[in-house]
Symmetry: C2
DNA sequence: CTCCTATTGATACTCAAACTATCGATAGTT
DNA sequence: AACTATCGATAGTTTGAGTATCAATAGGAG
């Protein structure tokens, strides 16, 4: 198919398709002449992946290029794909404090988790703890433990999901990448729902009155 | 204190402080003359909150203004603050498909969750499901159920956390806001840790060999 | 065979977000 | 009296993510 058809099928403008090819997110089509190039189904699928990562997953184009590169490189093993995908997710600039790091390590011990030292989740979690602390909140220990317990269930579900889909390495790699990026979003969405629902259940008509003001 | 001291105490440049005041994220200090304005502790705390929301929570300046406005408006009840904070989080442009929405509603029924129709988590979760589907993954039902079960635990922990801190409305409102934004990040971090840890445990030396390629 | 439309890669332009720098006026400090 | 810091206003910068324009040209409609 030509670029105009690819554009229609994927919902991405021709100009953006060219841009993604320039940036190395999308492989170019097969040139069949000076002014004609053939694209196929794989390009449609890849474009959908790109948009999911960028639009919903919140990745930058540069980050998306990285993880897509990892999917495509057959020399990178599945758990390295996991690592690369994890590292590509939005990260913090400032390194976290040692206190926060210790707290994260404590909860890891509590749950029997062990990772390589540079797991980006560790700094990410520690940075969040620092920010909680900087805005005056303390006593996070209980919260952190309960979060970790719930996350254990989630990670088990994640692994089962990847395992269940089996398929070849490329498919599995894509599932890992999509699962990390979109899983975060899915979980955030469910958390909003549950928070509102449980709030209503707990405080129905009670502690929190005032239903006159509209939330904009 | 003057702006230079506020800058040092908070780690935010004077120019950025002025910018935040212009944008309505930070209340201006008390003017004490043509070229002197007094800032106090509350400005330091507010700046820390702003940086946490923007840098770690990933909010835009506009979104941060919204939630901070909700904290400051005493006419807005606590659970409306929750709603506003939820709505300020990064959202998707395209509305999700009805199929995805039905799936989300099904899991809500399963868990006994109920919310107002416009809960932003619903569209967020449904959008993520659509993207999963668009990139070829199906059979999400099992994953979704397990996620929801774990999220129930998390949301319970969230509410306990807010309740435990008690304090006045303003404090509680700030806790709600910080908790939503930073909680997502904290959970994402823990998930990365658990994913890596469980992957190693499951596939130790097995399914996934190849440790020659470095993840850059 | 000839005009028309689509396509190509390259380059340049646009747009928004989030700062950052400059400026003239001025006021307290030495 | 000179110096330095501050004020608000306005203008400029930087980065990310596309869009738009362009000359060359090839394949199809008539």
């Amino acid at each position: 198919m030509r670029i105009s058809e690819l554009s229609e099928r994927s919902g991405v403008s021709p100009a953006s398709i060219k841009y993604y090819i320039r940036e190395g997110l999308l492989p170019g089509g097969e040139r069949t002449g000076y002014n004609s190039t053939e694209y196929d189904e794989s390009h449609v699928g890849r474009l959908r992946l790109i948009r999911a990562l960028i639009d919903t997953g919140g990745l930058t184009v540069a980050a998306a290029r990285k993880v897509i590169g990892a999917i495509d490189d057959p020399g990178i093993s599945l758990d390295h794909v996991l690592g690369i995908a994890q590292q590509a997710m939005p990260e913090s600039a400032e390194p976290p404090s040692d206190i926060a790091l210790d707290r994260v390590r404590a909860v890891m011990r509590e749950r029997g988790w062990s990772t390589v030292a540079e797991n980006p989740g560790i700094t990410l979690a520690a940075t969040a703890l620092d920010d909680f602390a900087a805005t005056g909140r303390t006593d996070l220990t209980a919260l952190l433990s309960r979060y970790a317990a719930a996350i254990d269930l989630i990670a088990e579900a994640d692994l089962d999901f990847v395992a269940a889909r089996g398929g070849d390495r490329d498919q599995a790699a894509e599932t890992v990448v999509v699962g990390i990026a979109l899983g975060d979003v899915l979980l955030a969405g469910l958390r909003r729902i549950a928070q509102e629902s449980l709030t209503h259940r707990r405080y129905r008509g009670g502690v929190v009155p005032s239903d006159r003001k509209e939330p904009s």
